[in-house]
């Protein structure tokens, strides 16, 4: 029996699951709660302060990893969840989900590399 090529998407899914479990909650807390509530001061995320930091190649790379892996995780998760809910047409759903993830990946790449 032929070995499956699922490892491509599953590898991204697993890595993305780990990243989104560990990093996203912290990011959500910082950018979604702490900063708006002024815990880190008024201009913690101001453009002047944050731009030089984010545009450093290493930080960009890390951000790219976090965003893209989380997106691939989400794409595969949506595919599986729809399947678990009994939706048929797994191939079609997979194609749409991964295409969207691919587009997001490109978008993230251009957004970050354009900085």
């Amino acid at each position: 029996m032929a070995k499956s090529n699922k490892p491509i998407v599953w590898g991204l899914f697993a890595a993305g699951g780990t990243v989104s479990a560990f990093v996203l909650p912290a990011l959500i807390f910082v950018t979604g709660l702490a900063v708006p509530l002024g815990i880190f001061g008024d201009d913690a995320l101001s453009h002047e302060r944050i731009y030089p930091f984010v545009s450093h190649w290493f930080v960009s790379l890390v951000l790219f990893g976090v965003i893209v892996l989380s997106i691939w995780h989400a794409a595969h998760r949506i595919r599986i969840t729809l399947h678990d809910f009994g939706m048929r047409g797994d191939g079609m759903i997979g194609t749409v989900a991964y295409f969207a993830a691919g587009m997001f990946t490109l978008g993230t790449f251009f957004a970050l590399s354009g900085m």
Binding site: M1, K3, S4, P7, W10, G11, A14, D84
Partner: protein, 247 residues
Amino acid sequence: MSLRQIELEVLRYDPEQDDEPRFQKYSVPCQEEWVVLDALNYVKDNLDGSLSYRWSCHMAVCGSCGMMIDGEPTLSCKAFLRDYGSKIRVEPLANFPIERDLVVVLDDFMSKLKRVKPYLIPKQHKPIADGEYRQTPRQLKLYKQYTLCINCTLCYAACPQFALIPDFIGPAALALAHRYNLDSRDGGRAERQEEVASHEGIWECSFVGACSEVCPKSVDPAGAIQQMKIASTVDWYLERLMPWRNK
């Protein structure tokens, strides 16, 4: 010892005579400390000798008395009446064809089990004169949990993926493949990967985890499958990035 009257609602089906399964009710005088299997034995001995079901050890070792009890895949020898109401519904294990009454056809499971080669394939053969294969407690610990499987197939009855895709090799067979892969004396992983890493193998699993929840032996087949997914993903990349490694 107190008596308790229990109403058993048992699925009956004889494919040779009946068009479709039906439920039959039995009112059974039960001892408080009985399990569902005791109640079935009472029915068989005193009320209706035609009822068919499998059982043997009555102590969660043989793995033959699995059935759906109030809709949950359960060993009937482990299902204490005190944990149930006064009406209990008993059906054959879900996702399997019915042989008769509570007996299901296991041929499909048996052939899947064979396909994953659940036996030691020694790394190198050594003559008996050279003595036994030695193993440290740590090496044993690595796979011991997966040796506890009693092939009761409760995990197949619980698995929604197996219900949707009957070709899925399924939890117990895959967990057993993992058991031998992890054994320090074994060298058969590459052979097993042909089945394990196929579409019908680990990749049909969507990690619902129901198998591990119902497993009476805490084998955790879902965990075994996830570990194999990681190992197979590493394989996949290595095979492509370092093709010279492939023999």
